[in-house]
């Protein structure tokens, strides 16, 4: 296995483990990983995405999460012990950013311990609107993880360029 494939597998495993932990502990729901794929470019298939930058000693990149609006409302409502109809646009955006913050933060901890390295995260940002597109890191593919929860799919994606 090449170094980059090892990194890819480690990234996927770290984000899968962290996502499962966030959904289980904070959202009282389970998720199923349906597919992992690598693509050169990626257009988010959700209506709302949160993005977060990752820097480390071995490279830099970003991670993101995309949801359909309805699922985003359901999950933010679960996080806040509210009903989905009570979630307004600003709350939805803030909640999606916080979900990604927790997923990426937990993954960062796993990676930092595994590689004995310090990774840092930026403050998340949110893109909202149907058919929005996302850019990754130049020269690095998107690793796309498709999950299912509440009968609906959502994506977590990672684009990380390792320094030579």
């Amino acid at each position: 296995m090449t170094a980059s494939k090892t990194l890819d597998a480690t990234l996927v495993n770290a984000f899968m483990e962290s996502a499962q932990s966030v959904y289980s502990k904070m959202l009282s729901t389970e998720i199923q990983l349906k597919e992992v794929k690598a693509e050169k470019e990626f257009s988010g298939t959700g209506d709302i995405s949160a993005l977060i930058g990752i820097t480390g000693p071995d490279g830099e990149g970003m991670a993101g999460i995309s949801f359909p609006f309805e699922l985003a409302n359901q999950l933010v409502a679960k996080l806040m012990y509210r009903e989905a109809h009570m979630i307004d646009q600003a709350t939805r955006q803030d909640g999606v950013a916080e979900i990604l913050n927790m997923v990426a933060g937990a993954a960062k901890s796993i990676l930092s311990e595994k590689f004995d390295a310090t990774y840092k995260l930026s403050v998340p940002s949110v893109i909202s609107g149907k058919s929005h597109s996302l850019s990754g890191v130049k020269g690095a593919p998107f690793l796309i993880m498709i999950f299912s929860t509440e009968g609906t799919e959502f994506q977590i994606y990672i684009s990380f360029k390792k320094e030579d």
Partner: protein, 128 residues
């Protein structure tokens, strides 16, 4: 309940997380009117300079001023209020840094609500 009159400051840039933490604190007897929020480390430092609290919950990664810097500044200014970091920064090194800088307890996100309740009660019992 005995927590009713205690004043809490939650420093977190996420309004959703401030709301989540507020709801959990209310479940263990804190009064909503005694729970204040600050959206970043600077707001947190400014708020504790003006008002006395019984407990501070402090996120780490925030815009304007991060929670670790805010923690250092609060302690340097003589604030003795118990401070619990509630953050995604889960590495052991981070925990050690925060405790050395004056944090009294540390909770990593994601967390179970029960874990927060337990740690808050432990922390308050240890300083009472």
């Amino acid at each position: 309940m005995e927590n009713t009159n205690l004043k809490v400051l939650i420093v977190d840039d996420s309004t959703v997380m401030r709301s989540v933490l507020t709801d959990i604190l209310k479940r263990i007897g804190f009064s909503e009117q005694n729970i204040m929020g600050a959206a970043n480390g600077q707001e947190g430092v400014d708020t504790v300079a003006k008002e006395k609290f019984d407990l501070i919950l402090l996120d780490w990664n925030m815009p304007v001023k991060d929670g670790f810097t805010a923690l250092q500044e609060m302690r340097a200014s003589g604030v003795t209020t118990p401070i619990m970091m509630v953050t995604t920064e889960g590495e052991r090194m981070r925990v050690v840094e925060a405790i050395k800088a004056g944090a009294n307890n540390y909770l990593v996100k994601p967390f179970d609500a029960n874990d927060l309740e337990e740690k808050v009660q432990q922390l308050l019992a240890s300083v009472s």
